[in-house]
Amino acid sequence: MTTTASLFDGKLFKSGLFNGGIFESEGITLASLIASLFGDGEQGGLWLPGPDTCYTDNGTTLCTAPGALVYRMDDLSGNGNHAIQATEAARPALQQTAGGLWYLAFDGVDDFLRTGSVSISEFHSMATAVNTTTPIASGRNADPVGFIAAAGSYNMASITIYRGGTVIKFRTRYIGLDDFSSTDAQIVLDANSNLPSTVLLQERITTTSLKKYINGGIAIERTAASTAPVDPAIWQFGPHERTAQFQPINIFANFVRAGTLTDSNREQLHELLAARSGATLV
């Protein structure tokens, strides 16, 4: 069974993998952050790919080296929402950057992971740390790339990318609220451009307001056109739906919580995601 202690020796950012101890002065560890986010029994999950959380089977054999195909990635929240892929061709590969950061490589053809059924309220927050090293060619921006999305209510998640100081948006459709789309939608990424590591957080604050935080700063705050409740049954990592993939992506961390976040929690979470992905918060 995965434990936070075995992952990080109890010190969240003391490891060389985590930007040299971002939280050291605050005395915050991964365990204390998880306790803060999920300690009262909140539903959701925290998924940090690595050799201590990813298995080549359904929970028995840990991945031992980069390149291993991931059957299961453990949820560290304590909720047991482990992400699974039983189909071999659809499994992402656990990889490691030159700097030692672990991530899951999704091939953009058929890879994805899914949790089991998750009961989640209409209030929820989600975050991901993701990048891609493959240029997004013209014509590939017609659909959102669901780095983390709610299956059963597809298209809930959409993405804003921070690149070189510029906010670049995939066309967004639903982010847990109907009709949260349109004006901030379209992007055309430069062909032959690569995207650096990115941190973003999409947080549903109330039933009528949604904020996107990108690399630590508020990028967009909008009022939803509809407040229809959101009750996804399953969380899916990878492209937004299995039948319409087109963009290889690398996921360094994913997070979902059935509830809003305090500013303090959000900042800590952003720093965790930044540390996991090598991104620099603005």
Partner: protein, 285 residues
């Protein structure tokens, strides 16, 4: 180095079953590839896995692209694109957006309004620039075999609805007139080309109750007259009503229309099925 593989649609179910039996999980081939009006192949991509490669190589109908290609280690997208295009098919997710001007080419797939569209004959989008639904003779929507979409009249075997969808292992489904339907009847070639509600479709959740089944009418086909059939007993005594589902022999499902005017044992059916003398006539009741 990674692996891309392709299998013709006719062998999709068997290939996925073989891979699952070899311990590689279900539905490995999951990416539709299209040629013409429908999906003709299914593709997959897998990161490096010698065991999986061996399992693929054991399936004779599967085409595999692994290793270097002209000295280049293709990425997952390029590798999958190549194996699909080498088979003369197109990857729907990689199709370009339908332009608003210029010429679109016959045989090409385009993306528009969250669907794929197949160009039947080349035309100018500068001239014909309304919604593609407006020009059914020029361009038509391609069915996504993994999605439940609005029903459209099939034009050939490739986009006809099937009782067994090889991508899902279930009957094809479609929405029509506010309901979701699934295929329950096909012609002798395995195709359903009828509008839901006419023949061969059942509304999801409204399956016939357990009390309904095929009942032997006691009559048999004795001979054929055009597309009408003579039966061995007076039809009025068989308890048939207009529109009632009937089955001739073990598989030929159709509907009863009427006793041909002026006769007592000549039966009109719709759609036509190729029944032969001696076949039993069953009714759904």
């Amino acid at each position: 180095m990674s692996i891309s593989a392709l299998v013709p649609i006719a062998h999709l179910l068997a290939a996925n079953a073989a891979l699952e039996a070899a311990g590689h999980g279900p539905e490995n081939f999951s990416v539709p590839a299209y040629a013409g009006t429908g999906a003709t192949h299914a593709a997959l991509h897998c990161w490096d896995s010698p065991e999986f490669l061996s399992a693929l190589q054991a399936i004779p109908q599967v085409t595999i692209l692994s290793g270097l290609v002209n000295g280049i280690d293709l990425d997952s997208i390029a590798r999958t694109e190549k194996i699909i295009e080498d088979a003369g098919a197109q990857w729907g997710s990689e199709s370009p957006a339908l332009p608003n001007s210029g010429t679109v080419t016959a045989g090409m797939l385009y993306q528009f309004d969250e669907a794929l569209w197949y160009v039947i004959q080349s035309f100018s989008r500068s001239t014909y620039n309304a919604h593609p639904n407006t020009y059914p003779a020029l361009i038509r929507r391609v069915r996504n075999p993994q999605a439940v979409e609005s029903w459209q009249q099939p034009i050939d075997q490739y986009d006809a609805y099937k009782a067994l969808n090889p991508f899902t292992g279930q009957p094809d489904q479609a929405t029509h007139n506010g309901e979701t339907w699934y295929v329950t009847g096909v012609d002798g070639s395995g195709n359903n080309v009828w509008e839901p509600g006419v023949f061969g479709w059942t509304i999801v959740g409204q399956e016939p109750g357990p009390s309904e089944t095929w009942v032997d009418t006691g009559a048999t086909i004795t001979s054929q007259a055009g597309q009408l059939f003579y039966v061995s007993l007076p039809i009025d005594g068989l308890g048939l009503t207009a529109g009632q589902a009937i089955r001739i022999g073990p598989t030929l499902e159709t509907t009863f229309v009427q006793v041909w005017p002026g006769t007592t044992m000549l039966m009109q059916i719709n759609p036509y099925v190729a029944a032969t003398a001696g076949m039993k006539v069953w009714k759904w009741a």
